[in-house]
Amino acid sequence: MAELVDKISELSGQNLDACYQCGKCSGGCPSVAQMDMLPNQVIRLLQIGLPELALQCNTIWICASCYMCTVRCPRGIDLSKIMEALRQVNLRENLDYMKIKEIKEEDIFILPQIALVANFRKQTA
């Protein structure tokens, strides 16, 4: 699995070993309540060579790319880019997180068009 970790590191441009697991990213994340795994735990799984588990969590999809974690990280790690890299690895396998057919019709009417477009880009292959 070392190759997959290297790929995520390359895609994101981040040194995963720089993280010292302080948890400041998780503490400040505005979406953390919806996540099944803390952002720092996602990094941890990559550090210990378990990227397949990191690819399965919902954290990477819930991440809004708000960059709160990135601006506060004491080690200068851009977590948003790591989350994006993990999404990319999934999407390249055609594993859509959002199933377009499952969107309810009433939601389509309520949601702004731009939100739908953004979601297609972020969560579908």
Binding site: G23, K24, G27, G28, M68, R72, C73, R75
Partner: protein, 654 residues
Amino acid sequence: MKQRIGVFVCHCGINIASTVQIERVVEAIKEYPGVVHAEDYEYMCSDPGQGMIRARIKEKNLTGVVVAACSPTLHELTFRNVTALSGLNPYRCEMANIREHCSWIHKDVDKATKKAIKIIKTIVEKVKLNEELTPLSVPITKRALVIGGGIAGIQSALDIANAGYQVILVEKSSSIGGHMAQLSETFPTLDCSQCILTPKMVEVAQHKNIKLYNYAEIDDVSGYVGNFKVKIRLKASYVDWSKCVGCGLCIEKCPTKVASEFEQGLAPRKAIYVPFPQAVPNKPVIDREHCRYFKTGKCRVCEKVCDLDAIKFDEEDDFVEEEVGAIVVATGYEVYGVQNIGEYGAGRYKDVVDGLQFERLLSASGPTNGEIRRPSDGQIPRRVAFVSCVGSRDPELHKPYCSKVCCMYLAKHAMLYKHRVPDGQPIIFYIDIRSDGKGYEEFVQRAQEEDHVTYIRGKVSKIYEDNGELVLLSADTLAGMPIELRCDLVVLGMAICPSSGVDELTKKLKIQTDANGFLTEAHPKLRPVESLTPGIFIAGCAHAPKDIPDTVAQASAASSKVLEMFGQKELSHDPMVAWVDEDLCSGCGVCISLCPYDARELEIKEGKRIATVKEILCEGCGSCIAGCPAGACQQRNLDDKQVIRMVETVLSRG
């Protein structure tokens, strides 16, 4: 004279021998003109290795020695001493660096071997032209200057003074004591900081060998090791301390209140003030910036109430000059400002305090007389959060280093808080607990087991105020859960940084600082209390964050280096200095502007301007030699002839 040079090639275990073929080197160098002997040994610096060189010098009647081994910074002295012991002038011995400059940096064995041979031949050429030199002797003024009157400076001054030498102690504030005087109790033994410090402060004040200049700063430093001249600015205090008896009436009547530095802004002081009751010396100063008379031209209440006529509004800064042989720099630290941490409120929240402020809240002589009351409303906080690594270990936004003392003092804070508020809840947010001093880990365990301090592993991400409480957003990285904690008071374990003004001082002293502004030691392991400038030593937090035991140990170490110097009759100075061919010198003075050591000066000799060399100041850097347009400057044992011969040798075939 026919040269008879011996070459000794070291294997340095496998350090050299694994990359350089020693046998080939010895064979090649044996044949080189001027070389009468060449041999190798596994460790030339060992006793047998040194013995071999001594024996060969005598047997072979050598006139010069080349040791092909490591860098001369490591063993030049060793081998020059060996040479001297055999009756040969030590400056007829040189090292050829075939380790750092060759074996360590190359992989190709053949090329490295050829390069090693070249390096050795070059040094043989140099030795052929080396003169016999004698070290210069330098007299020592056996008095020391200590800069900074915190615990490091106090300890250092006392050690030197107790050994019988005079010490000049300069402190920028009106009292000695430094930050240690502000602390409540000290880890890991919980002894009262003031109780252990004030006897030492008094000892300084009463010591016959210590001359204390408080409220003073270093204005200028000139000279060199053993012979420094220091100009000290005595800042105007506007109080004649020879008349003042410290009755305190002026302070009582002064109408102006400003935030007390000693109380970290948690209590007011007057514009004429003594920083704290146990101050040494216990004499007031007028804070010109805030004094009503200096600001508006009206008031002079202190002058009116002083029966002894001790107030002198017309006083100006004064200067004194002192001659010293050694200097200890102990300028201490300051706390990195809370205003730098935006996500923790940047200083907007009254109930988010730094560690030193909490020390004052804990202190029996502090603004709350030792009762823990939060600054905003004076209430006793029921839940207190302590946050470590604030600004420390943060290379991205703040300071990259660990501030070393925070883990321990936050454990102490939490413990003391629990002792004062038994039903209170102390919670420490940490990333790693660093408790590596004697009795430190036991202390942290005591905080956890006996005082039930809750440790949460996670860095606080955000602090905000809500309805009179503080809300901390963090995560418990061990439980894997986000945390939102409401509490009444937050104590930040802020990073510690070098004192402001140190930058300017280091320029005057010509000593170096690292990327974070801390003083640089001459060697991180083997010369930890010396600066790179001879005669200037460093102690305490000016060097790096450290706790009181380490500071005191380093201060005593610096003193012992001073005493080592003072124990000698005179100092010796390297004779490989610049010299001037007076026939060639046109007196243009380029060398004077280039010399970083003030070692060059113009003199009139027989009606002609000549740039001479003050040999004792010359460090042999070569700047003047490179810059001299007439080629009149030369360096002993590295003159143009030698350098050209060496370059020719490097460039020659074979």
